[in-house]
Amino acid sequence: MMCEESDSTLIAQAKEEPEAFGALYERYVDKIYNYICYRVGSDQDAEDLTARTFYRALDHFQGYEDRGAPFSAWLYRIAHNLVANWHRDHSRRKMITLDDVVLRAPRRKGPAAKTEKMDEEDVLLEAVRRLAPDRQQLIILKHVEGMTNAEIGEVMERTEGAIKSLYHRALVALREDLADELEGLA
């Protein structure tokens, strides 16, 4: 029977044995990449930022203290800060950032007649990317990672109640943005 070691055990091991850091990396690389990819919209940038996230984690790993919060929360916070810096650095550059995510994301198989629906979905993703960074983060953690409000609260360092309110505001903002978009098209 395979017994998966807990994060706390792996963290303690990784402070002494480099291979254990590799095990932590393997456990979280998909999630961090996924989060970053939805935030930046380009798989090349997502790979670059994922690598930077884990290198930064390695830089600060000896000082990391396991206080009971999930290790992933720490990684998501590093990723979030790097993504924020990335957006700041790229804010002046005009980019079509969603294309890669849209093209790479696994789609439901179907005939070409679904193109219209796909366009509608792309509009939805673009609207998500126009949300404020904390709202985007929340939407991604909830709808892509499937996290609970309590887990999101640990990542975003907010209370569960604050996350509920933020989620409500994020959905309202998204709905308004989509309505504006539709009006613009009409």
């Binding site: 480099p18 590799g22 690389v29 994922t50 994301a105 979905e121 990672e145 959905l171 998204l174």
Partner: protein, 132 residues
């Protein structure tokens, strides 16, 4: 009047937020919905529809296996290099402390001998003076 309206709107928003959370986490939203006004229920339905669209569209994306493998190898190599560096630094610190300790000990010993010699010489001179 305005304050009352705002307060009611705030409570409504809070009720919708609670119901949204209950739906998202498969909690029991029935009681919350029963306590809602029709407007609030319409609002909740509209937001739940949007949440379902997000669920359907926002599917996980995966990094390429080649990227995962190569970054994993790089990180382990880098972690090993840093561990060796830390070990080396630790060894240097231990050796430096030992050397410093030895120097202090030798200096104390030499100092002790010098003081002793000086004391013996002073005593001998004092004796010579008293016999003369």
């Amino acid at each position: 009047m305005r304050e009352e309206r705002e307060s009611r709107a705030g409570e409504g928003a809070s009720a919708v937020a609670q119901a949204l959370a209950a739906h998202a986490e498969e909690g029991d939203a029935r009681q919350l919905e029963l306590d809602m006004s029709r407007e609030e229920r319409d609002e909740l339905t509209s937001l739940l529809h949007l949440a379902n669209r997000l669920d359907a569209r926002m599917e996980p994306v995966r990094p390429s296996p080649a990227f995962v493998e190569s970054l994993g190898e790089e990180l382990v190599r880098e972690a090993e290099r840093r561990a060796l560096k830390r070990e080396k630094r630790h060894r240097i610190a231990v050796i430096s402390a030992a050397v410093a300790g030895a120097i202090v000990s030798i200096a104390s010993l030499v100092g002790g001998v010098v003081v002793l010699v000086k004391w013996l010489r002073t005593r001998a001179e004092a004796r010579q003076a008293s016999t003369a």
